[in-house]
Symmetry: C2
């Protein structure tokens, strides 16, 4: 990546990244995001009953609505590590906080990687100290790279925003390429802005954004122990803090939502082993909940996803997954399209499979299902299912 | 297979199989099971909202509790084929019934194969006539072969049973290697016995057996449109018909359950692309429903199944799937074993991953989870997830 491709950081955000040799030596695996001033902080976390230690720590800290830094490692999830895991997460924050000269409660810990192994604290603590000492020496790209696990590329977004006559900016990074499932954030996503946003507004914004981005993508139906979205707003843009009723809030919200959506799109594009992005749009459902359920049933079906990989317009598998989705609909009223090719009309084949198959030879495919049962709709993003997914996950720890 | 391996048919059951060139020429794809006398008939069917035409036909016919024959084709599921599909299923039964000299309502239609194409009736109707004419010319093995789709071997079971001093027998065949999921029978399973069984008893028996066999296996989490279990009891053994309170019923039930279980085991062993049979046993759950939910979450996890394929004792993925199963439990109390190797004690690693990995290098692995939350347990069978699953399903229709 050329230097010019590195998104500029919002005002007052500094970065560093170091090598703590957590999984294997030779790559940066510990990173720090730091704001020169205290930030408003909001978050969304995994709904998995088994939550990693750093997630539990963040959930406690976020109650204050304030933050200053995020310290994050890859290579080890610090999940299923008991009381020791929680102590480790706190020690790391304390070490960095001390060196940064801030309160440890304002430093949020995040981890991603293998579940069930204790963190190598003998290497991480000195590295955390170095990390804090070197703050400002790295770019957002370095951090985006340091948090990668099976990701094949770093994931970053950036946008300038006009708020009350001032120009601010929002930047975001995330990582995630597998174990991505509905009712979840991605594995890790960090949003930063210099726009001043009121705490309640930021919190509502994050929850709303997650609903329409990371909660609408699925790769393998598995749900992680570590998924975390954290958003920091340090207000250095100098605007009057946005509340949900502010004049500029809607525009800011739109920009924020768009960036979160773009990040979630990058995650699906980087789906483990994926060769295709697949949009599943279910319309004509009785309720939005029905539309989501139906779309997720299609998007999670191994048989649909392997058919997409094989460029096979096998709509029977789509009808089949709609059938077990638990949604009330009539097969006899249902239409199915691959891109613009209508392959099923009122539950029956239109004999256009050959045409549809040609459509599938693209790296982006839209499956549209019209249930003709109501007016609600929902869209879910997924990817195809390939031998490489198997390979990546069979060999993950070896 | 040697002739001596062909299981003997229960008294009065005759078979035939012919080639109707439904999918591709060169293999038998239409088969008939016929009883010389009227049978008591019971069944269990897919709970998918989208049901194939033959399933809808069978569900209607089974209300009579009586049968005489099953006519079954592979290569085409006759699903999502609308009113025409239902008419086709009935025409096939009528054609065979006429030639056999029995009522069409006693002939049950079944289909398996690709969804959404109309049956090639111009080839099937003459073949159905030939099939009926040749009744008695084939063995149970021929029928088991004729119903195969992605199966790599025919699936048959047989057992002699003693009932009230008489010797009867039960035989069964089934097909299924993918699209096998919970809350389902397999794709097709036909049980035959010459033991006389009362209609209500046989019906209860089938439902109970399915619960502990085909409803406790999962391969890809997909649920078929065609899954059907049919059981025929013609009473030619001459015993007084068994009711649920008969002296010999418990023994008969045990034999019947065992055979159904064995058939479901064969399906998992033949899981598309599978190299390993995996038993997931969840014990110490609060309720049986919880135990089942937890066991299915583990057994359906793509990440667990790829780890098993990679001989990776990655118990974190098991804990993770328990976490999103929706079951209430404490991570801190949970133990996990691979075979007899305890890899997790009270939520923490025992550092025995190397030992556990050695256990995984076998073609049968048992994962045991003890939630220490209650006394209920459940076992689910599944298989590992390999590149071949992808290949088979990406190329299914080509």
């Amino acid at each position: 990546m050329r230097k010019s491709d590195i998104p500029p950081a919002p005002k007052g955000f500094l970065f560093s990244a170091v090598e703590a040799a957590i999984k294997k030596p030779g790559r940066k695996d510990l990173a720090l995001i730091f704001s020169e001033t205290e930030t408003v902080m909001a978050g969304a976390f995994t709904t998995n009953n088994v939550k990693a230690a750093p997630v539990r720590a963040c959930m406690k800290q976020i109650a204050s609505g304030a933050g200053r830094a995020i310290i994050v490692n890859s290579g080890n999830a610090n999940a299923c590590t008991g009381r020791q895991g929680l102590q480790d997460a706190r020690s790391i924050c304390r070490t960095a906080a001390q060196r940064l000269g801030v309160s440890a409660s304002l430093v949020y810990p995040c981890s991603t990687g293998v579940i069930g192994s204790p963190l190598p604290m003998d290497r991480i603590l000195p590295a955390a100290d170095t990390l804090a000492r070197r703050i400002g020496s790295a770019t957002l790209l370095d951090v985006a790279r340091a948090i990668m696990t099976t990701d094949t590329f770093p994931k970053m977004v950036h946008r300038k925003v006009r708020v009350n006559g001032r120009t601010g900016s929002i930047a975001g990074i995330c990582k995630g390429a597998g174990m991505i499932a509905p009712r979840m954030a991605t594995m890790l996503c960090f949003m930063m802005t210099d726009v001043a946003v009121d705490g309640r507004a930021l919190s509502a914004l994050v929850k709303d954004s997650v609903r329409h981005s990371f909660n609408r993508i699925t790769i393998d139906g598995d749900m992680s122990t570590n998924d975390t979205v954290l958003a920091m707003a340090n207000g250095l843009c100098g605007n009057k803090p946005l509340t949900r009723t502010s004049a500029g809030f809607a525009e800011f919200q739109e920009a924020f939502n768009r960036l979160m959506y773009d990040l979630s799109l990058l995650v699906v594009k980087d789906g483990e082993g994926a060769t295709k992005l697949i949009e599943v749009l279910v319309k004509g459902a009785r309720t939005t909940a029905d539309a989501e359920k139906a779309a997720f049933a299609v998007a999670n079906s191994s048989l649909v996803k392997t058919a997409m990989y094989g460029n096979d317009a096998n709509w029977g598998r789509i009808m089949c997954s709609l059938g077990y989705s638990g949604v009330r609909f009539s097969e006899e009223k249902t239409d199915i399209y691959f891109n613009r090719v209508k392959v099923v009309k009122a539950g029956l084949t239109t004999n256009r499979d050959a045409e549809a198959t040609a459509e599938l030879r693209s790296n982006e495919v839209r499956i549209t299902v019209d249930l003709h049962a109501g007016k609600a709709s929902a869209q879910v993003l997924t990817c195809d299912f390939t031998e490489d997914y198997i390979r990546i996950n069979a060999e993950y720890r070896s």
